[in-house]
Amino acid sequence: MLLVVKDLVKHYVSGGFLSKKEVVRAVEGVSFTLDRGETLGLVGESGSGKTTVGKTVLRLVEPTSGRILFEDRDITSIRDMRPLRKEMQIVYQDPMSSMNPRMRIADIVGRPLQIHGLVSSRRERDDRVRELLERVGLSREHLYRYPHEFSGGQRQRIAIARALASEPKFVVLDEPTSALDVSVQAQILRLLKSLQEERGLAYLFISHDLAVVRNISHRVAVMYAGKLVELASVEEIFGEPLHPYTNGLLASVLEPSPEASAPEEVLPGEPPDPRKPPRGCRFHPRCPIADERCREEEPELREIRPGHWVACHKV
């Protein structure tokens, strides 16, 4: 296993001295594994904690508790993460805001090379940046331009080049296509796939877009209100979803067919307030099949079939 995440918890505590102390439970005990060369799709509504999981795994956000093992090494409390940053990277949703507007592409993409001592001269760095730009489908001439001179799709290619510069083994893709046109989305997904094959990259692909996740993932984890509710291969999640929330998510996707009528509201209500999640199963207030037990007892994530995990009393 390249990456093992065990019982990851992230709470944000605010106030406490003069104001009332509030705890936002963004992530509540998430566990999963990731193999070399594998893509794990992480889906959920906004506010479900999926981005927090991605950033916590990279230690960009400090976990409240839980363990993160990367290449069998516990990195949960390593003080200096900088040497490890070479191995694990991130691509953000909005490439514009994730780049220093006063840096040129040569610096944006070249900094990881310099930081990790992968190049010995400026010239060598620029050569490597040119290669990277070409690999992600940009022109070598773009070296001395600034981020704002590019289109959204081009910028995301630059962000991918930056993430790949230090030749990492693991990349968190935080909604990398959500800000792009559909046609550009497809190009970026194709690029990500071919890079994965070429370099054996492992992806944690965070998205709310089920079609995109289905396209790129090997396995899919579904998150609801800070917890994983289902984790299985992409075929099983889309073929035989077991959790009522996964069911609802899939049913809420619009059919691209003229005969299809607008879907009825399959997931009524809204996700719970992460400051005061409901007792029992967090999904029970919206669940069509919830009963007394669901209101009282929180379901564990169980392996129903080999490789298919579900957190539901009714399965």
Binding site: L60, M81, R82, S97, N100, P112, S166
Partner: protein, 285 residues
């Protein structure tokens, strides 16, 4: 290949700046003021410190376009040399305050925690003194003189730059590219220098211009009170102070340095407002 190494944000800003009327007018006044200060030895018709007592308190005439003061010194020459004094005092003191303020304010915001708490409280205390009182206090302790005026004015500007830099850096610190910098393995020092500083400086530029105007006034005020630049160095505030005795009988003695002071401060304020429009587009109407 030779290229103009300016980043696009700066280039766009420069383009907008040349079209702004406040910047044009203010810039022109400031340019005249700076030139006057720099070229004082070449353009002033007389020695500003040597007077001819027989020509004491002459009104403006052909020989002395601005008239003379009680010691028979040419007021035009003294106004020109006074620009040099004001230029030195204001730019040096603002420069010191900017450098110190940017470092202290930036670190305070970036490091956060107790350091930020302590710095902010100290700056609050310093800022709670009415503007000129702090400078007056310092000048009274260290005594009069050009260097001491610079120190006093720098000290009174310092907390303002700390506060502005801190606010600006706090904003930039939350930008995603700062987190992205951490993600690629940048050190804290590198994040501070390469990401935080260059993106936090715009409000500092505006404020530095406005504080230059205020510093000229403060320095003149200190000199007026006798705590600033000492004779025989020509200084506008001090010239006006000397003229109090002849307020009515020889008004030209205070009118000309007064006008010079007024126009210069106006120029810097216009320039500052214009820069503010250009650098912070949100406030543009």
């Amino acid at each position: 290949m030779l290229r103009l190494e300016l980043d696009p944000a700066t280039r766009r800003t420069l383009r907008r700046a040349t079209k702004n009327r406040n910047i044009r007018v203010g810039g022109a006044i400031v340019a005249i003021f700076v030139l006057m200060g720099l070229l004082a030895p070449f353009i002033s018709p007389y020695d500003p410190t040597q007077g001819n007592l027989r020509d004491s308190l002459l009104p403006p005439c052909r020989k002395y376009p601005f008239g003379t003061d009680f010691a028979g010194r040419d007021i035009l020459s003294r106004v020109i040399w006074g620009a040099r004094t004001s230029l030195i005092v204001s730019t040096v003191s603002v420069f010191i305050a900017v450098i110190a303020g940017v470092i202290v304010g930036g670190l305070s915001a970036y490091v956060g925690g107790w350091l930020d708490e302590v710095v902010t409280r100290i700056m609050d205390i310093m800022l709670s003194f009415p503007d000129i009182l702090l400078a007056l206090f310092v000048a009274a302790i260290v005594g009069p003189g050009l260097e001491n005026v610079i120190v006093a004015v720098a000290l009174y500007n310092f907390p303002q730059f700390v506060r502005i830099m801190r606010g600006s850096a706090l904003q930039v610190k939350e930008m995603e590219y700062v987190e992205a910098a951490k993600a690629i393995g940048e050190s804290n020092a590198s994040i501070f220098v390469r990401y935080l500083l260059p993106n936090s400086l715009a409000p500092i530029v505006v404020h530095a211009t406005l504080r230059t105007a205020a510093s000229i006034l403060t320095a003149a005020g200190l000199s007026f009170l006798g705590l600033g630049v000492q004779p025989p160095i020509p200084e506008w505030g001090q010239m006006m102070s000397d003229a109090r005795t002849y307020l009515v009988t020889a008004p030209h003695v205070w009118v000309f340095p007064g006008i010079a002071l007024f126009v210069t401060v106006l120029g810097f304020n216009l320039l500052g407002d214009g820069l503010n429009d250009v650098l912070n587009p949100r406030t543009e109407v």
